[in-house]
Amino acid sequence: MTPDTEQRLRELIADVLALDPAEVGEDTSTDTVDGWDSLAHMNLVLALEEAFEITIPDEESADLTSYPLIRLVVAEQLAAIAP
């Protein structure tokens, strides 16, 4: 994942979870962010799919519980659709 894409990802997560993009890091997870509930999770999936034009499969969707995991899933899906 390019630094550019990673920056976009951090900003998107910050927007959805009401954080400062600078706060989004390796330890950002459902355990450390207040308000990362099932509704925020839904918004996160929808926003990721819209912004990166990907579809997050069911089995991956449940894994989106931290910034490192989200980065991994998004990178995989981007690779899957890469020409």
């Binding site: 900003e11 927007d15 959805v16 509704l39 839904m42 918004n43 929808l46 926003a47 819209e50 912004a51």
Partner: protein, 603 residues
């Protein structure tokens, strides 16, 4: 101003961009609501009671409120608990109640069940939904500024299969029930917000994953479009006040210029292009008139030419009687629009103006920014789509069981406009009132008017002493009660009939009679009509052995104009607290004098 000078830092401006991604919507809504300017914006307090997870809908309601210059606070009810939600919302100060009952969520995968559900089982579901809605709407009566129920709609994509037809049939059955229930509760509207799904496209509107997983069927795009329509239909909580549609003639009602081409030369015709575009648009505008929108004309023309088309052209759809005010002259449009607003007695922000000339549109925009303007598209084929957009602005998408009064609105405003012009001719207010030839009928327990009486108690805010809301059943109960009376006031003058415009509800418990409610329609305020009913009330009170009269003024945000009404009738203040002012006086202190300019029939 260029894009560079206006960086996208203003979150409200950014929110108006229809293509804004979800993440940005979430951020801008938060930022806009937290901005210092937001503190000055009016608050719209919504309560959303749904049988599906609709948090995202709330987010988009906040977005569209901001776009329209307000801040929405959206209370979310518990799933499937309308009655409890209604109670909680009323306690929490919610003003706009929205009930969203999604067909598919009436039972597990309800749409999938429908094709195999027998008619008996379906009827049971309909009855159950009817009971729930009736309970919730009964509880809501009189406690909210607006009550809207979203019409039933399907979530599955329509297909050419029997199963799909079964879903459509069920939608129709449930909606027939809903319209009946809404009709029993004055002021309740049925909003076809599900149409947003078709507008967005099924694929893009329904998320099958979240529908099954979290009972959250609507995508962000669907929520966005539903919220946009909701804000339009609730007129952004009163922030949208459009009442009248003002139309230019040449190039707007028809193609061509009647003064040059003659009535036979204009383009207006059901069958051939481009006349058929204007013909279609005239039907669209006339449909608005039937829903209570006031049609007016503002045209630079010879009045005789316009009259000839309006009255005599075979393909003309909007006829002279459909138009409330006609300003056909060589005055500029801003002057005509001001005069129209004046004649109608409404603000300039109540006007929507349509013209084909960019020059006229610009002139109006510059001089009267309060007026909403639309320019007729250059290509006539694009005009019906614009007319549909205009219809949306008038919240025409909302269906409500129309009363006879709605249909007569044009007539009543025409009468009032004539009266206003008349007023200009009289030197003093007294002379003017005298010239009106006002007559008031005061009737007691008028059963035939149950619906109108209940509607008036639901709708009147300004001239309303106690702002108590009555259902038809409440009114009927008061009429049946020998120790109560419902007085209704009918007003007419030499310009026409204003209809039933005042209601008084009194209870008699000797030795005291109490006025429980007294209200007047704002259509007749300022003519002394409110003095017409007290002679009759005093007589009724005496018949019931009462010699004391009690009354109250309960203040609301809307009714300060009647704060001293009882004082004016000679009643004495006996208690004042946070709720209001209580009055009590011997019946003989009540001033039952009827102003000279009124003729009252109250026997």
């Amino acid at each position: 101003m260029t894009a560079v000078e206006a960086p996208a830092l203003d979150p409200i401006a950014a929110l108006a961009d229809p293509g804004l991604p979800l993440a940005a919507v979430l951020r801008h809504v938060r930022e806009a609501e937290a901005a210092p300017e937001a503190a000055r914006l009016p608050r719209l307090r919504f309560g959303l009671s749904a049988n599906v997870t609709a948090d995202l809908l709330a987010t988009f309601v906040r977005r569209h409120a901001l776009v329209r210059g307000a801040v929405a606070e959206v209370e979310q009810g518990s799933l499937d608990a309308h009655l409890d939600n209604v109670r909680a919302f009323a306690g929490a100060g919610v003003e706009h109640l929205v009930i969203l009952e999604v067909l598919d969520a009436l039972g597990p995968a309800f749409e999938a069940q429908l094709p195999t559900l027998g008619p008996g089982a379906l009827a049971e579901h309909v009855d159950r939904a009817r009971s729930l809605l009736t309970l919730a709407l009964g509880e809501a009566a009189g406690r909210f500024a607006s009550v809207d129920v979203v019409a039933f709609h399907r979530l599955s994509a329509p297909a050419a299969t029997p199963a799909s037809a079964a879903v459509d049939a069920a939608v129709a059955t449930f909606n027939a029930m809903l319209v009946e229930v809404a009709a029993e509760h004055p002021g309740v509207r049925v909003l076809p917000l599900g149409d947003a799904i078709a507008a967005v496209g099924h694929e893009a509107a329904v998320d099958p994953r979240f529908r099954l997983r979290f009972r959250a069927p609507y995508t962000a795009r669907a929520c966005d479009e539903m919220a946009r329509r909701l804000l339009l239909a609730t007129r952004a909580g009163g922030r949208i006040r459009h009442k009248a549609l003002v139309l230019d003639c040449d190039g707007t009602l028809w193609g061509g210029v009647v003064g040059e081409d003659g009535p036979d030369g204009i383009a207006l015709d059901p069958h051939t292009y481009p006349g058929n575009a204007y013909w279609a648009v005239q039907h669209q505008f006339l449909a608005l008139q039937r829903q209570g929108v006031l049609l007016c004309l503002a045209s630079k023309n010879e009045p005789a030419d316009v009259d000839e088309v309006l009255g005599g052209h075979p393909a003309q759809v909007i006829r002279p009687d459909d138009v409330v005010v006609r300003k056909v002259s060589w005055d500029d449009k801003a002057t005509s629009l001001r005069a129209i607003a004046d004649d109608l007695g409404i603000g300039l922000d109540g006007l929507v103006f349509v013209d084909d000339s960019p020059f006229e549109i610009e002139g109006v925009r510059a001089q009267l920014p309060e007026v909403t303007t639309f320019q007729v598209p250059r290509e006539p084929w694009a005009y019906p789509a614009l007319a549909a957009e205009i219809a949306e602005l008038f919240a025409a998408g909302a269906t409500r069981v129309a009363t006879e009064e709605d249909a007569r609105k044009t007539e009543q405003y025409r009468v009032r406009a004539a009266a206003r012009r008349e007023r200009a001719r009289h030197a003093t207010e007294a002379e003017y009132l005298q010239s009106l030839g006002l007559e008031v009928d005061v009737r007691v327990d008028e059963r035939a008017q149950l619906a109108r009486i209940a509607q008036l108690t639901q709708k009147s805010n300004q001239f309303n002493l106690t702002t108590r809301r009555y259902t038809e059943a409440d009114v009927a109960a008061a009429m049946d009660d020998p120790d109560a009376a419902v007085l209704s006031l009918h007003v007419r003058d030499r310009f026409g009939d204003h209809g039933l415009t005042g209601v008084l509800v009194a209870r008699f418990a000797a030795p005291a009679a109490e006025v429980e409610a007294f209200l007047m329609s704002c259509r007749v305020i300022g003519r002394g009509v409110e003095r017409a009913c007290w002679r009759r009330l005093a007589a009724l009170a005496a018949e019931h052995g009462c010699d004391e009269l009690r009354a109250a003024y309960l203040p609301t945000r809307k009714n300060p104009q009647v704060a001293r009404f009882w004082d004016g009738l000679g009643l004495a203040r006996v208690a004042e607290d946070a709720d209001g002012v209580r009055y009590a006086s011997p019946l003989t202190d009540l001033d039952t004098t009827i102003p000279d300019h009124l003729t009252v029939h109250d026997s």
